[in-house]
Amino acid sequence: MAKRYPQPVFLDATVVSNFASTDGIGFLTTLLDSPVVSPAVRDEIERGEHAGYEYLGSAVEVFGEKLPVREVPSEADDSDIRDRLDAGEAESILGVLAHGGTVATDDLTARRVAESRDLPVTGSIGLLVLGIEREQIDSKTTDEWLDGWRKHRGYYAPVESVTELLDDEP
């Protein structure tokens, strides 16, 4: 079997929305070598901004250049994916199936669908840890973001601090 490459990273609306809510889209686009979104994710974020969720504007601004939109071919056998997931989540998974790479989602159902197809899945807190380990963000900021996501985005992680997840913890 050919080796899978972890890039590009197909970000779905949950991850984009999280980072946008803490003004972290810039971090996201510099952290990842090849972050992309599907057309449906772009459309969903734009609809959210139009619906009054203004913080999504920081994501809308970078669509195209810093956050490329990758077209996703329609699979003939994708009904099981689309039956359970919305268009953005489904396209993110279909994108990885078509182009390779990694799915970035915080939705549990989307994670399960991706994992059922043996696709690598990461999410917001995984990207925070990667950011710390690449020294692109400090742990104080990541904990502030995590706290903000908990309070405002309905985010949950079974740790209180990102520092608990760092490899150098004694």
Binding site: L32, E44, G88, T109, G126, S139, Y156, V159
Partner: protein, 342 residues
């Protein structure tokens, strides 16, 4: 890079928590004091000792795992890290448990402790009430196992509760982290102890009533293969959460008191919605909560944006909507993120 002071390792805390659960379970089997001066009565039939989880589900059903039979004991640990997780108590012949002295007991403890590494603790909840764990009360958490004969007619009296009628409601902001063990259906989870608690309301009796109805409705729906039923469930949930079906408790309380603030909050909730949830919305919430569809898909079905739907869920009491639920999911997420750098 500097950061806040490190806390003890999460995995070490969890491991110690699980070990304590097992030690307490063993202590009950051996007839030791639970620390409150109470003593479990060990009852034997043949060479078998049964452990029963003290907490019942909404229908009064109990799990009856048996030490020595390689069954599992779902001990609702209720601790900080992983309430509701499965703990396997196997490979401990009851006869040995009955006859062992302290030294042998310690050896058995170690033997059982070694099984902890194989514990199944993957969780399955899609949305639950609170992401804020509370301080671990080890005594409360670990005194929930009772011994019984196989017939189940005789029970010890240590801390026995029937359902949750005698349990104090958990305060807002102090709710448990709730998870659903793998292998159980979402309906099972909703009927379970932690399903109750996940709804995160101090109006415990109402929540119990609601969840009992939920369990019956889900069974009915499954037996009839009906796709409906969510509307009633969610409507009832919505009422419980918003207090709309309640009388105006606290409306005459003095200004500034907690009761008065609660009453005002209920009034606001009631006035902000002119009608009950629609069929589409209720179905979408139900399907999402039961893990049938993603949040985004549910939002689509309800004709809302994702962010609007999140607000509906939060209004209904679901506060943890996204993110890894279990350590295994978290580890997989970290592994995938770290692979991005290779």
């Amino acid at each position: 890079m500097s950061g806040p002071p490190r806390r003890p390792g999460r995995r070490n805390r969890e491991r110690e928590h699980r070990r304590q659960c097992l030690r307490d379970a063993l202590a009950v089997v051996r007839g030791r004091s639970d620390g409150d001066g109470n003593r479990e009565r060990r009852q034997r039939r043949g060479d078998r000792v049964e452990l029963r989880c003290e907490e019942e589900d909404a229908r009064g059903e109990r799990q009856t795992p048996r030490v020595g039979e390689q069954r599992w004991c779902e001990q609702a640990c209720g601790g900080t890290d992983a309430p509701g997780e499965r703990i396997r108590l196997h490979g401990v012949p009851a006869a040995d448990v009955a006859s062992q002295d302290d030294t042998a007991g310690q050896a058995d403890e170690r033997a059982i402790g070694d099984e902890i590494d194989g514990v199944e603790r993957e969780c399955d909840a899609h949305a639950f009430g609170s992401s804020r764990p509370v301080a671990h009360n080890s005594r409360a958490a670990h005194s929930r196992v009772e011994t019984t004969s196989s017939g189940g007619s005789s029970r010890s009296g240590v801390g026995r509760r029937r359902g949750f009628e005698s349990e104090k409601p958990m305060p807002r902001g102090g709710q448990r982290q709730t998870v659903a063990p793998v292998g159980r259906t979402a309906a099972d989870w909703l009927r379970s102890t932690d399903g109750f608690r996940s709804l995160g309301t101090p109006r415990y009796r109402s929540v119990v009533e609601f969840t009992e109805s939920l369990g019956r409705e889900l069974e009915h729906r499954a037996s009839r293969r009906r796709s409906g039923g969510y509307t009633r469930l969610f409507t009832r949930l919505y009422r419980v959460r918003s207090g709309r079906s309640k009388s105006s408790l606290g409306s005459n309380a003095p200004e500034g008191t907690f009761l008065r603030r609660e009453a005002r909050h209920r009034d606001v909730m009631a006035s902000s919605t002119s009608s009950e949830p629609t069929d589409e919305l209720a179905t979408a919430v139900g399907q999402y909560v039961l893990g049938e569809i993603s949040l985004g898909k549910a939002a689509e079905a309800a004709g809302m944006t994702r962010w609007e739907f999140e607000e509906v869920l939060r209004d209904a009491g679901f506060e943890a909507l996204y993110g890894p639920r279990t350590d295994d999911q978290l580890d997989d997420e970290l592994d995938a993120a770290r692979n991005l750098g290779e």
